[in-house]
Symmetry: C2
DNA sequence: CAGTGGTCTAGACCACCCA
DNA sequence: GGGTGGTCTAGACCACTGG
């Protein structure tokens, strides 16, 4: 246990970040990078109190929030344990497709079909909350899993908010990861539909006529302005969207 | 302010429920029944401390969790306010279709196509986590919004956990509201697919051949046992699934 | 039984906001 | 300035778990 606790040196009482957040981050990192494995027992609250020299309430808050987020499980009288699997899926998370594919052990690649400017038509303008005719950045790309197309991305970006968007090489980094680095979105909207893709999309995704696709449209906000509006099209035969999670007040609210 | 605080008598220090939970419930009820309206300022932490005679940490925890759940907003240095609108939609919530339709000002009705027992085939058994061949309850129903079919429900229920399921009149109450009254599920799984419905489903939903549908499969758990496995089919032309929400650690986790 | 987490208290200091 | 929420402490009591 000593060795486990030694690596908590990252806690800095004079840092601007709250102590409980630093503790959460440290544990989160340890779980995500595999240092602490699923099912493994965490140090007890009292051990952490002694090791980090913070009060038990602070430790408790960090662990309670991690429990609420599903990263760990706690059993009264027994201890705290790393949760079996990260289970929240892309239905409610904003997850990079490259990360998702890579984590499932496959190879991710992408091909950029277009990266330029585009005048907003009425629909796009409405979704981006800008006047019709505004010049926007536009990215069109296909994402592959082991060379099989699994996602078609059509993304509009507000040039005021992300001026350097066109200079990126989106065959190397995904637009999602680029935008996440620039912005931590404050608000998101997801809408899911079932569609029959048009010939162009069918061609890009290499699917048969008549095969249905899931279409996920996402808008993200920062400071009450739409940063990006993206439509992701998934062939139904190769992908579905899922989420499993513990239920709390959040889901049960009417 | 006095009148507002008077109505907090519901707090009972000897109750088995934690104080912070009682406070959360009281505020939640006040907001939901309209006593406290959107935008309205809540009593400050110190006022609540004085009125309820609990410590500030306890008040703070209640308000912090309500903030995290989106019911209230807090501004450092200013105060706490009732949030503008409940925005989470059915993508991540478990919402009764009848409530959803009614809230949009339309008329909900449903027709039961089947309500009986069924032997679990391999797929169903796997999803219900029971042996193949187990006898399950089965409900097949169509839901209408102003006499237009918008949802086809195919539901399996574990008879051990809900023995009285077959005795219900599901043309009067929905299965969702019945099950929610019996069980507060502990865990849920949602999977969304795009499909082309078969002739039987197409007929029940009165849609054209080739029209795609969204198919939402949901399983809910109680005490680590699957209570119910339901497949909901929505004609794409009449329904989509959406959610807009504030972003927190939960959504951003990798 | 000893160890664990769940809750609660009464203080404290600070950063923020508005007047 | 005075009021607000955000954080933190050092204790405390309790209920639950396992041996």
């Amino acid at each position: 246990m000593k060795a486990i606790l030694d690596s908590f040196d990252a806690i800095d009482k004079s840092a601007p970040q709250p102590l409980y957040q630093q503790i959460k981050n440290t544990i989160h990192d340890k779980v995500k990078n595999g240092e602490w494995k699923a099912g493994q027992k965490l140090p007890s609250e009292n051990e952490l109190v002694a090791a980090l020299e913070v009060s038990r309430m602070t430790i408790h808050r960090a662990l309670r929030e991690l429990t609420q987020e599903g990263l760990i499980n706690r059993v009264h009288g027994l201890g705290s344990f790393v949760a079996e699997a990260p289970r929240h899926a892309s239905l409610i998370e904003l997850k990079d497709i490259a990360v998702e594919v890579t984590q499932s052990g496959k190879q991710h690649s992408s091909r950029v079909l277009a990266l330029d400017t585009k005048q907003a038509d009425e629909t796009i303008a409405h979704n981006m909350q800008v006047p019709t005719g505004t010049t926007l950045y536009f990215l069109h790309a296909v994402h592959y899993q082991d060379d099989i197309p699994i996602q078609l991305e059509a993304r509009y970006v507000n040039p005021d908010l992300v001026p350097e968007f066109l200079q990126q090489d989106f065959s190397r980094t995904t637009s999602t990861s680029f935008l996440l680095k620039q912005f931590r979105p404050e608000e998101m909207e997801h809408i899911v539909r079932a569609i029959i893709p048009d010939a162009r999309a069918r061609d890009a995704l290499r699917i048969e006529p008549g095969e249905p696709c899931l279409q996920l449209s996402r808008r993200t906000w920062k400071n009450d302005r739409v940063v990006t509006y993206v439509t992701l099209t998934y062939p139904s035969s190769r992908y579905d969207l899922g989420a499993r999670y513990a239920v709390n007040d959040f889901q049960m609210r009417q």
